[in-house]
């Protein structure tokens, strides 16, 4: 995304928002103006609350996502190399995958209580399936030529995984990581609405309860900005990798 398009697009969004506020003549408590939201953001920032919520959210997100990456890629490689086992596992995965992680929240709260853990588990679930599926697909589609070479050179099983399977499937796994990142970030907010007393999701619930829609908006903007940032970073990584690999 080019910076000037980004700035142009955001400006347009703010102008539209302002227009709706002016034309609709809504009450400030119902639809806060950009200026009021900016003030709310500033006050959150000054009080230190904003950074506090952001850091706890990033912490939960980081743990949940990284665990999902490790679990998803490891299992994905194993299952991708065992097509028969995968044929048995796949239907259950397809059954569980479309279930929103939030649907599990009653169980999660029951077993994990409140605090960081429920949010982490929900983020994990949201990120796990896209990574698992992308990895299995990528690994099972590795060109047999590479595996023949590994056989011909008598690479050890460990070297085959490290030097052939992981790099050969990496560009495709990258795609799964990107989808998972987006979906996990979406469910961060939901996760923090379920069992947390802090974080950006909690901030939204808390502000709503206090009827402070300007704060709700402020939190939404921060969540959106971080989502955008993550996506840009992972896209850059993915771009570099595929460029070096020479794949399209």
């Amino acid at each position: 995304m080019k910076l000037r398009y980004m700035i142009g697009s955001f400006t347009l969004l703010v102008v539209l928002w302002q227009l709706v506020v002016v034309v609709g003549n809504y009450e400030a408590a119902l639809l806060p103006s950009p200026k009021q939201v900016a003030q709310a953001l500033w006050s959150l920032f000054i009080s230190g609350l904003l950074l506090e919520h952001i850091s706890i959210s990033l912490y939960r997100f980081g743990i949940g996502y990284i665990l999902a990456v490790i679990a998803g890629i490891t299992l994905g490689i194993l299952l991708g190399r065992m097509p028969t086992v995968w044929r048995f596992v796949n239907p259950s995965v397809q059954l569980l995958r479309p279930v929103s992680p939030i649907a599990w929240s009653p169980f999660i709260v029951l077993f994990a209580g409140i605090g960081n853990l429920p949010a982490i588990i929900i983020i994990f679930i949201a990120a796990f399936f896209p990574i698992l599926l992308a990895t299995v697909t990528a690994v099972s589609k590795i060109s047999p030529v590479y595996l023949q070479i590994a056989q011909n050179f008598e690479l050890t099983p460990f070297a085959v995984v490290k030097k052939i399977i992981i790099p050969a499937s990496f560009p495709a796994i990258m795609g799964g990581l990107q989808i998972a990142l987006g979906s996990a970030w979406i469910f961060l907010v939901a996760g923090e609405m379920v069992g947390a007393q802090s974080g950006l999701g909690f901030l939204i619930i808390d502000a709503r309860n206090a009827l402070r829609l300007d704060l709700v908006f402020a939190a939404i903007i921060i969540i959106g900005l971080f989502g955008l940032l993550f996506n840009t970073i992972i896209q850059q990584i993915s771009y570099r990798v595929t460029k070096q690999w020479g794949v399209q």
Partner: protein, 250 residues
Amino acid sequence: MIKINGVTKVYDTHHILKGISLEVTKGEIIAILGKSGCGKSTLLKIVGGFETSSTGEVIVNDVAVTEPTKKCIMLMQSYGLLPWRSVEKNISLPLEQHTALTVEQQQQRIAHYMQLVQLTPYATHYPHQLSGGMQQRVAIARALALQPEAILLDEPFAALDTFTRYFLQDELIKIQQQESTTIMLVTHDIDEAIYLADKIIILAEGEIAKEITIALPKPRDRSNADFQHYREVIFTEFELTQQQMIDYQI
């Protein structure tokens, strides 16, 4: 040394190979010629251990072949370079875990083989940045770096243009003379077979129809009368007519 003892191959009820026996001595270049579908690739895969024979056996250095080993390196039609590794890293792949070489000795060996295929300036390039002929040379260097007993080439230059093909044929002869690697080569190209091989095996109907020893010093001259003589021998073997020989500009 490679010994092929009465190798047969049956697919379903189709007898592809009907008892092939052949000895390849160390440092020899053997070319296998034959019409499309006669089982040339199948034979090469059996020698490489990528395919099992129905009966008979292949013995490399007194050991029967049951699976691919680093003693015989097969060069894939698609070159089989790893796109995520640079030229030097591709060549280092087989060395990294096998030989009792120190890192320094590995580096030396990689440098030696890069030099041999004239790709030293491209050490840090990635395969997609190279032409087809260059990729083929990387694959050859990678195979040679392991210093295998033999390398198996299935139509190695078929996808390349004439100039590159001639260039690589000369390269292959030069490399082979330096390294005295045994080479088994499958080709469609009669001239290529005469130009490169010490011995030509003509496969037909699943059997060795003829073995022709090419007693010409290398590098060979394609316009030489003896070269022409071998062409005629092979053409006769394939029962090509005088007219076809004219069409082929022989």
